[in-house]
């Protein structure tokens, strides 16, 4: 999957979502970093398999159909605006197909969804468009990941195949469209920040109105889902990517920057909290992403 580059995420931040992100320039470091994190999270998850994206045919020339799927989103401050639709570019059978020779072509008989040889693959372009931002890069990743999962969950790819002449791409509108993801058990990312009090006159600050937890006595506090202001004050930031499988919380990824507050004990609490969030978000996604 990684070699063929079939999942192409793109995060657009220069949208006027915040005063420093006005349109007109190339993607900056934050946007590029986010894209890289999404790519590695998708790879680590491995849910979108090669098999679901295959295009079969009987001809001898390989070619590829490409489709877009898109997502508009805003910051996750209780205001998720999912504008996810499966696909965007109408597949015109008379248009010349985009030809790209896959290096390690999955040519050969594969059981399951299609007959004949694999002639090409669907490419999924994921566009995440940030409408409103008052979180830092880690909180933003949580929202971007949720948007990506929701978009993939609602993606429906029509059945296509390459004609006998090897040139035309045909669509079968009668067959039910292919889903890209399973029904449930989607991973969710949660960010936390560890704030140390009692330094440089910051002692006694009352924080953690959300799900703040006491860390080591009164000297530090862990904030869930910190916004940009809070993240800037935290010395340590942790992002957990978890999914729920048969009642168990499984970790798919973890990123941690900084240190000194969160040890193994605190990490257990964080994983539990991330599992709770995973349950909540999955409920919302299941409701909204139903056919």
């Amino acid at each position: 999957m990684a070699e063929l580059g079939l999942l192409v995420p793109n995060v657009e931040l220069n949208t006027g979502c915040a005063p420093e992100y006005l349109p007109g320039g190339p993607p900056g470091q934050v946007a590029q970093g986010l894209v890289q994190r999404v790519v590695s999270a998708l790879g680590g998850w491995g849910e979108v398999e090669l098999g679901r994206l295959m295009v079969y045919g009987r001809a001898s020339k390989p070619d590829r159909a490409s489709s877009d799927e898109e997502e508009g989103m805003s910051d996750e401050d209780e205001d998720m605006d999912i504008d996810g639709r499966g696909g965007g570019v109408p597949l015109d059978p008379t248009a010349p197909p985009v030809v790209r020779q896959p290096e390690s072509a999955g040519v050969g008989e594969r059981g399951g969804e299609g007959e004949g040889e694999v002639k090409g693959f669907y490419t999924l372009n994921l566009h995440v468009y940030v409408l409103s931002l008052d979180h830092g890069a880690n909180g933003l990743f949580d929202a971007v990941w949720m948007a990506v999962v929701a978009a993939l969950a609602t993606t429906r790819l029509p059945e296509v195949w390459v004609g006998d002449d090897g040139e035309s791409v045909n669509v079968d509108w009668e067959r039910p469209r292919r889903k890209v993801l399973r029904e449930r058990g989607w991973p969710v990312a949660s960010s936390f920040g560890a704030f140390r009090m009692g330094r440089d006159g910051l002692g006694g600050a009352k924080k953690g109105e959300k799900e703040g937890k006491g860390g080591e006595g009164e000297r530090s506090m862990i904030l869930a889902d910190p916004d940009a202001f809070e993240e800037g004050l935290c010395e340590e930031v942790i992002t957990l990517l978890v999914r729920e499988e048969e009642g168990q919380v499984r970790m798919l990824g973890m990123e941690k920057q900084g240190g000194g507050v969160v040890g193994l004990e605190e990490m257990r609490d964080l994983v539990k909290s991330a599992g709770e969030r995973c349950k909540t978000v999955n409920k919302v996604l299941e409701k909204e992403c139903r056919d």
Partner: protein, 265 residues
């Protein structure tokens, strides 16, 4: 006119000084000929964020007035084809017309050495009728009129001093099925096969002023003879009527928005 009431809300982007969201749903007859991977865009969705007034950078020359900077950006999925991050000619054109429309409303002399950024994002654009290739012009006009309305709402939400709110309205002269030309207000681009002339205005009703007029003509205008001058005036009048209708929606929205702000404080 088969469109539903436009939905206009302010305050959707808390990170901006002011913001607004506009959505217009269109009813499309189900199109079974071209399946497509997704249903065709069924309307228009715009969001606008206003940042400012904020101080100009130190290097900027002194300006006794507020410097307005408008940007229009299409998302890659708005019209089905991708765009790069540099603004293309459509985006620049719309931004220039929008700036003209809004400049006439701002009390710019109250904000020297300051700038304000108005950024419009087109989440979903309306497609013209696929059988008519010349409808691209009408698309832009209806889009500009919605941009004007949503930008005015966002500027009011940001609390920037204005003489009045500007709203956009479009009128077009189209060739009807009977072969006669008729004046249509707020045309839906995909409904009409051939649009002869179309015009968008930005109108300030409290002062009865027009701050922006943009008119286009495709090919031979239907019924072209010596009456072109009065045709154009009736086109502008029609667009002004459409703008008045949009103003009703805008005023309702702003009332709600002010009430919500007062409740919060």
């Amino acid at each position: 006119m088969n469109q539903s009431q436009p939905l206009l809300k302010t305050g959707l982007t808390p990170s901006a000084s002011g913001s607004a969201y506009l959505e217009i749903k269109r009813e499309h007859p189900s199109d079974t000929t071209s399946g497509g991977l997704s249903p065709r865009p069924s309307g228009l969705k715009l969001t606008c964020a206003v940042h400012g007034p904020r101080p100009l950078p130190r290097s900027a020359p002194f300006s006794p007035q507020l410097l307005l900077s408008t940007k229009v950006k299409f998302t890659p999925f708005a019209n089905g084809h991708q765009r790069g991050f540099m603004p293309d000619s459509d985006e620049r054109d719309l931004a220039a017309h929008l700036e003209t429309a809004l400049k006439g409303t701002l009390l710019a002399e109250r904000w020297p050495k300051s700038g304000v950024d108005v950024v419009i994002t087109v989440l979903e654009g309306e497609e013209g009728s696929p059988s008519s290739s010349s409808n691209g012009s009408c698309d832009h006009l209806t889009l500009l009129s919605s941009c004007i309305t949503v930008a005015s709402a966002a500027i009011a939400d940001a609390g920037i001093d204005c003489v009045d709110v500007a709203t956009g309205g479009v009128a077009a002269i189209v060739l009807g099925a009977s072969g006669r030309s008729q004046l249509i207000l707020d045309p839906c681009p995909s409904d009409h096969q051939s649009v002869g002339r179309a015009c968008v205005v930005a109108y300030l009703q409290a002062r009865d002023e027009v701050t922006e007029v943009w008119a286009k003509q495709e090919g031979e205008p239907p019924g072209a003879d010596g009456s072109e001058h009065s045709d154009f005036l009736s086109l502008v009048d029609g667009a002004v009527e459409a703008a008045k209708a949009a103003r009703l929606v805008l005023m309702d929205t702003l009332k709600e928005s002010v009430e919500a702000k007062l409740r919060r404080d």
